[in-house]
C-alpha cells in the first residue's frame, strides 16, 4: 500500500496584473505548488476605472488585469483594499521617493508585509513576487531586495522565482518544497526573457502599462499631488482627493484655489458625482465642461473661474458666455463673461 501524497505547499503570489508577477506564479504552479494570488488596491492603481471615465478609452475592454491574470493561471485572487494603511507609505516613506512621488521601496516592503500577514492568517507557507534584479531603479536592485525581505518580516519565506538563482537560497528551497534549479536567473531591464517565457507558456494579451501599474510613477500626477499638499499645508489626502487627481484638467490660477475641468463627456459625468461637495460652474449659453473649484474664492476669483469655464467650452470664441455658478448650499447665480483668451493663461497655471 502506497503512502498518501503529501499535501502541496501553499504560496501566496503578489499579482499586479503585469507580466512578471504572472510568470513568477506560473513557475511555482509548474513546481506543483498551490498558488493563490493577492492584489492590493491603494487608490493609486492604474486600473480599469480610469479607462471607464474618459471617452477615448471606451472602445477598450474594461478588464481588471489582476483578475485576468488569475483566470489565465487558474488561481484564486484576493483583492485587498489598503487605502488607509497605505497613506503612511506615501506621506512618509522611510526610503524616500523615486523620480516622482513613487515610494517604490517602502511600497514593496509594505505589500510583501501585508502578504506575510495574509500568509500567516491563512496557513500558507511562503510568498512569491515577480521581482527581477535590476528591473526597477529603486525597489528591484540586488542590494534592496534583502531590505524588502527584512522589513516585510517575510525573510526567507519570500521567493522571487524569476531571479531566484541569483539570490541566496530561501526556506522553500532548503526544505525541498521547490527546486532551486527550476528557478530563473533573469536580471536587468530587458523584457526579452519574460516575453520569451510568455510565448513558451502561450500567455498572450497580457497588460503592459507604459508607466507601470501606479499613478505615483507618473510625473504629471505627482506634480498635482505635490500641489495639493502644498496648497493645504499638509501631506494628507482622502481617496476622493487622489481619485480627482486622475480626472480632468487641473489649473491653479491663484494660490487659494484650483479648477478641475472635465475634458469630455465621460469626465463631466464623473465630476457630476462630486458637484454637491464643490462650488462648481458650467456654461449655460453654450455647451461646455463642468468645472469644480477647490479652495476658497473671492468675487474676483469667481469671475476669473467663470472666464476660464467659458474658455474651455464651445463658447470659447464668443464675445460673451453665460456661466452658472452653484455654491455648496445649492444656490445658483449667473455671470456673463468674456472667455479668457488662450494667450492669457500662463502655462504654469496648468498642473
Amino acid at each position: 500500500m502506497s503512502s498518501p501524497q503529501p499535501k502541496p505547499r501553499r504560496a501566496v503570489a503578489l499579482i499586479s496584473g503585469g507580466l512578471d508577477s504572472m510568470l513568477a506564479a506560473k513557475v511555482m504552479l509548474e513546481q506543483g505548488i498551490h498558488v493563490e494570488g493577492i492584489n492590493f488596491y491603494t487608490g493609486f492603481c492604474v486600473e480599469g476605472h480610469t479607462h471607464a471615465i474618459r471617452n477615448e478609452h471606451r472602445d477598450k475592454p474594461k478588464r481588471n488585469n489582476a483578475l485576468w491574470v488569475a483566470e489565465q493561471l487558474g488561481i484564486k485572487l484576493h483583492i485587498i483594499e489598503v487605502i488607509e494603511e497605505y497613506k503612511q507609505v506615501v506621506i512618509n516613506p522611510k526610503h524616500g521617493y523615486g523620480a516622482n512621488l513613487n515610494p517604490c521601496l517602502d511600497c514593496k516592503g509594505f505589500m510583501v508585509g501585508k502578504a506575510r500577514e495574509w500568509m500567516e492568517a491563512n496557513g500558507f507557507d511562503f510568498i512569491i513576487t515577480g521581482e527581477v534584479i535590476g528591473q526597477r531603479p529603486m525597489s528591484q536592485r540586488k542590494d534592496t531586495m534583502p531590505v524588502v525581505a527584512r522589513e516585510s518580516g517575510a525573510f526567507d519565506r519570500l521567493v522571487r522565482p524569476l531571479c531566484g538563482k541569483l539570490l541566496p537560497p530561501t526556506l522553500p528551497e532548503r526544505e525541498g518544497w521547490i527546486k532551486r534549479e527550476n528557478l530563473l536567473d533573469i536580471s536587468g531591464r530587458s523584457r526579452k526573457p519574460q516575453m520569451a517565457m510568455a510565448e513558451q507558456y502561450k500567455l498572450h494579451d497580457y497588460a503592459q502599462p507604459a508607466g507601470g501599474c501606479c499613478f505615483l510613477t507618473n510625473e504629471q500626477y505627482s506634480h498635482k499631488l505635490a500641489d495639493l499638499w502644498q496648497a493645504r499645508g499638509t501631506k494628507e489626502y482622502e481617496l476622493d482627493d487622489i481619485m480627482l487627481l486622475k480626472v480632468g484638467r487641473h489649473l491653479r490660477p491663484r494660490p487659494n484655489f484650483k479648477l478641475i475641468v472635465g475634458r469630455d463627456e465621460g469626465e463631466n459625468n464623473y465630476l457630476q458625482g462630486y458637484r454637491k461637495r464643490f462650488l462648481h460652474l458650467n456654461a449655460v449659453s453654450h455647451t461646455g465642461p463642468l468645472v469644480l473649484i477647490e479652495g476658497t474664492v473671492s468675487d474676483d476669483d469667481l469671475l476669473l473661474a467663470a472666464r476660464l469655464t467659458a474658455r474651455f467650452g464651445h463658447g470659447r470664441d464668443a464675445e460673451s458666455v453665460e456661466v452658472e455658478v452653484t455654491d455648496l448650499a445649492g444656490r445658483s447665480s449667473k455671470l456673463t463673461v468674456p472667455p479668457l483668451p488662450a494667450n492669457e493663461i500662463p502655462p504654469e497655471w496648468y498642473l
Binding site: E47, H51, A52, P61, N64, I79
Partner: protein
C-alpha cells in the same frame, strides 16, 4: 438560502469587486447576492471574479443609470 443586496453605487472598480468579495465571505453556500452598481466595469470584473472563485453568475442587467449583477455563492 437567502437573498442579499449590496449597494456599490458610486464606487469605481475595483471597489465594487472588493465589497462583493467582503460580502460573499459572510454568506452561506447557495445564498444569492445582488450587487447594484454604477461603474460599467462591474459587468466585466464581477463575472471574472465569480469565475476565478467558482461562484455562479446568475445574470447581469444594465439599466439607464444602474447596473445589477446577481450571483450565487458556491456550494
Amino acid at each position: 438560502m437567502a437573498t442579499h443586496q449590496l449597494d456599490a453605487r458610486g464606487l469605481l472598480c475595483p471597489m465594487p469587486v472588493i465589497r462583493t468579495q467582503q460580502r460573499v465571505a459572510t454568506l452561506a453556500p447557495g445564498d444569492e447576492l445582488e450587487i447594484l452598481a454604477t461603474d460599467p466595469g462591474v459587468l466585466h470584473d464581477i463575472p471574472a471574479w465569480c469565475r476565478v472563485h467558482g461562484h455562479e453568475l446568475l445574470d447581469t442587467t444594465r439599466g439607464e443609470r444602474e447596473i445589477s449583477v446577481r450571483l450565487r455563492v458556491r456550494g
